[in-house]
């Protein structure tokens, strides 16, 4: 009889383990230490080894690696969030055929230099996001097909640019203007391409076949070279001040 009762108790224990109870809980209920509990559980399972289901459940429970408490460390569950990462960047992302997303950040250090130079508080300076269509252009800062300009708040850090054209390459600057109204770029973005909307007519590009992992060279050369956003032209090309430059400072116009 005693044996039978013992058997029922352990059978129930196994069932409870299957249902997700922990060994620690059950050991406590039975007034056993965990070591005793495990020993007697193993003995029981040896007796009933003909019953694989129970054995599997216990084996599975034994695999539970940790008590949950060790994970109760606040440093694992930090939910703070930062929008500022102390870096200078302007990033463009493509949302759809006519919409881009821009986000940006200016380092405090750069802000300070700009404020000093323009002799103005950051929040008093005018700021703009300029989006250039640079499709097939070696962009030098001035030769975009088109420029969209948006005034932004000094503390703004992202912007959706709508109503752009599909199948075009875009680049953006975020910057301010000089007293005379000329744009001064503070940040420059990557180049992105809006997806094409229309099908490309068959006659616009040569039809060409290749085999797997080795596309033909003809096609490769037809692939447009990525537009480099950065000009390597030297300053003499674009600056009116260079003619009046005497080496260290500017010779100002007579009427100045």
């Amino acid at each position: 009889m005693v044996v039978l009762k013992e058997f029922d108790i352990w059978r129930e224990v196994v069932l409870k383990l299957e249902q997700g109870a922990t060994q620690a809980e059950l050991a406590k209920q039975l007034g056993l230490t965990r070591g005793q509990f495990r020993y007697r559980l193993r003995k029981f399972l040896e007796q009933v080894s003909a019953e694989p289901e129970a054995a599997a459940a216990v084996e599975a429970v034994e695999m539970v690696p940790e008590p949950t408490e060790i994970f109760h460390d606040p440093a694992l569950w930090d939910e703070s969030w930062s929008r500022k990462w102390n870096r200078n960047r302007l990033v463009l992302m493509v949302k759809d055929t006519s919409t881009l997303f821009a986000y940006w950040e200016v380092q405090e250090q750069r802000k300070a230099i700009i404020c000093e130079h323009f002799e103005s508080d950051w929040n008093e300076l005018p700021f703009y996001l300029q989006v250039y269509d640079v499709t097939d252009v070696w962009f030098d800062g001035y030769n975009a097909h088109s420029v969209h300009r948006f005034r932004t708040h000094p503390e703004a850090d992202h912007w959706y640019i709508h109503s752009l054209s599909p199948g075009r390459k875009y680049l953006a600057d975020w910057g301010t203007t000089s007293l005379s109204g000329q744009f001064f770029a503070i940040l420059r973005s990557n180049v992105v391409e809006t997806p094409r909307l229309e099908q490309v007519p068959q006659n616009q590009a040569p039809i060409c076949f290749g085999s797997l992992h080795s596309a033909p060279t003809a096609t490769r050369s037809a692939f447009p070279q990525p537009t480099t956003p950065f000009s390597v032209q030297f300053i003499t090309d674009k600056h009116s001040w260079i003619e009046s430059f005497d080496g260290y400072t500017l010779k100002e116009k007579e009427n100045d």
Binding site: E18, G20, A56, A57, A60, M63, V64, P65, F71, D73, D78, E79, S80, R83, W85, V91, M93, V94, K95, T97, Y103, E105, Q109, I113, H117, G141, Y142, D157, H158, G167, S178, Q182, F184, A185, R188, E193, P195, Q202, Q204, F209, G210, S211, L212, H213, S214, A215, T219, R220, F223, F230, F234, I235, H239, W241, D246, G247, Y248, T249, K251, E252
Partner: protein, 937 residues
Amino acid sequence: MEKGYLALVLHAHLPYVRHPESEHVLEERWLFEAITETYMPLIQMMQRLVEDGTDFRLTMSLTPTLLSMLNDPLLKTRYLNHITRCIELAEKEMERTAGTPFHRLAEEYYHKFSLIRDAFREKEILQSFREFVQLGKLELITSAATHAFLPFVMTEEAIYAQLMTAIELHERHFNQRPRGIWLPECGYRPGLDRLLKKCGLEYFFIDSHGLKQSKPGPVFGGYSPVLTPEGIAAFARDPGSSEQVWSSKTGYPGDVDYREYYRDIGYDLDFETIRPFIHPDGIRIHTGMKYYRITGQNEHKEPYNPDWAREKAALHAGHFLDERIRQVLEQKEKMGRSPVVVAPFDAELFGHWWYEGPMWMDFLLRKIHYDQDVIQTITPSEYLTLYSDYQVCELGFSSWGRGGYSDVWLRGENDWIYPALHHCEQQMVHLANKIQDPSPAEERACNQAARELMLAQSSDWAFIMDNKTMVDYAVKRTKHHVNRFQRLVRMIGHGQIDDEWLSKLERLNPIFPDINYRHYRSEHAISRVQPSDRPKVLMLSWEFPPLTIGGLSRHVYDLSRYLVRQGWEVHVITTETGNAPHTEEIEGVHVHRVHVLKPDGGEFIHWVLQLNLMMIDACHTLFDAGHRFDLIHAHDWMVTYAAKTLKHEWGLPLVSTIHATEHGRNNGIHTDLQRKISHIEWQLTYESSRIILCSQYMKREVEQIFSLPPDKSDVIPNGVDPDQLRVFREGNPADQEPYAADGESIILFVGRLVREKGVHTLIDAAPQILAEIPEAKFVIVGSGPLMDELNNKVREQCLQEKVLLTGFIPDHERNRLLRLAKVAVFPSLYEPFGIVALEAMAACTPVVVSEVGGLGDVVDHERNGRKMWPGNPDSLADQVIQTLKNPEQAQQMAQTALSELSRYDWNQIARMTIETYLKVWKPGSREQSIVTSGERV
């Protein structure tokens, strides 16, 4: 023989959800429900087909996150607990529904759950998949490691890491590399193919519009894969097959006889009955037991009838097949090849959302096998062996998300995650490049950082935020992973890895046990600087050869290379020019030329700001590469912002050379611009620990203008390169053509044609000189803004025959003239130093110079040359006439001047400069800069 093919592709994916910290995280049920309703039924379906000898081909992408969860001991245990609870619930339901129409359904659920539990225990899910692969029925492919939406991963390194981690995990589980990949959300962007190729992948899938807009258009429509320019095959989704299976409205799953997903007893039963089987907090959940069929559009639902549903599934399978046959027959004709219809679906649609899905597929595969011979199922790999070539097309950006691009993952609800994610990936790349030789703890921390980053990148979080259910969970997950990543980066940066915390995190997220953070390394190794014992100076100069506008360029060039000869390491930061490389080493000097961003405000003063911003960036790059400097040496006001900023950032001593002042150049300050420049000059002197000036004259000027304490500056004359001077003494003097005729005496001026150089004084003196010395010929070498004005002056005085303005001429011609000249005249109004006078001396040519600035220091009247009053034509004429009339005396003075030139030897100047450096170079300042700047990652 079959005329075409059907490629059925099931994309099986769940985000990594594993919460050892709690037993009751609802999101873990995503996995449990998918196992019960999708993965096990699909396995059972394939098992039946194999047992019955029905041939079929199926392609499945098992994402690395799902693979990891299916193989996770904790989750397997929890799943067993979960399915056991389901069985219990079904048992209770059998009792509760006795005598009702639902009893049979409850019974079916009971059997279904029990069978699944047995099968789950009997054989690992992954083992079942392995066996179907071995039988050749199933092709398994991979996906990005954590299902990142690759078009929004910023760096190629991070994309590569996502791909390689996935491939390696796949290989570990299935003993073979995947040949294809399911790009998460079918997100493709140009250039991705290069990385796929690098990882050895052969094909991927895109949505149909992505192919339609390819360039050129696809000649076979969507019925053949195309190759990207890198030679990777892209299979396009067939829109027709998708619509019929996907759409809950017009597609099969919306049929009235199919099971209604939203009527679950977890919601329908009274609270007390269901309470033990829902969340302990009393949150009602889907139990998986659903008793109703869709019935119709409105709320009223009829009981589910399994027989009817089964009939419908068979009917729909037939319909689907007929449509495909129609397509294939039509296309076969057009193409002259066997078309392939690609039908990809989310695996979880089958069974979980569309309960009868696995049954439908069972019917479909049987019908294909037994009932017709037009179509055969095929895997993409098999199809790619059918033909030796495919059309090559450029593919643009596309995805299979709403709208076809990235509307789902980029909107107000989720756009805030990208600044952080992009920053983290760049940090990770930096870390991987930097940590070359990790300690065991660093290795673990870097690998865990890679795990946390990848987990944060899962497209699922942005998707859930867009979907607006369980948003909190997605937000928290993003924050947790990013913050854990940041903490790891800080620990690694500070060299203080909290081992206990790290091992907790490793146990919390033990995904990808073999992850290798080195996959984040850049393709082109970024060279890390080895620390050296040589003292190291950062030289800031706005010009450097070949860019030469004033004398500064040459000066910095010579000073730098002579400092190198004296054992210093010199890095010059300067402006880019022409085709000169952005980085090069010239005679041991490291030159870094920066690109100056435009638009730059259109004025020189703003261009200078832009130059400084770029210089600071360039210096940060040097710092990141491991360069540590002992001091900064700035030249003139143009580099003030950069010098000041870096001095403070790195805590380094600053030495400046003031070559000239705005005040001196303009003989006072007259405009706002001059005032601004003068202020910037003052600032440079104020920020500098020591100032170097080229003459006593300049020292007086700078001390006076900027109220500089006398003991803050050192006078070091400008140097002259002995090699350069030697040129003037070698070889024979050639004839005077084309500058002067035989018998004429050349009176030479060399310099920029600007007011301060005083050329006009020379022209004004010409008539007087000619009166005494008719054979005199004035040769004026140089260009500048006064060129036109001077030409006019010459014409007005009818001196065209006697005065020649050469404009710019090459160095060797200039040197020849210096030797030919009978006298060289430097009538400057303002001249901080006047190096060209030394060159004339080196050529052993007598000189006449203004008693001004540095020139006054160089010439001792009537000992080594003659002096004149600045701006005074009479005085100039007088001295020139004296020189020409007394050639022997003049030659003697020239000899004296030549013999004293060693004072200006660059070796000597460099030594004096180093003495100045040593006055401010604090021992240990280099270390200081490391501490104050922290790790820039």
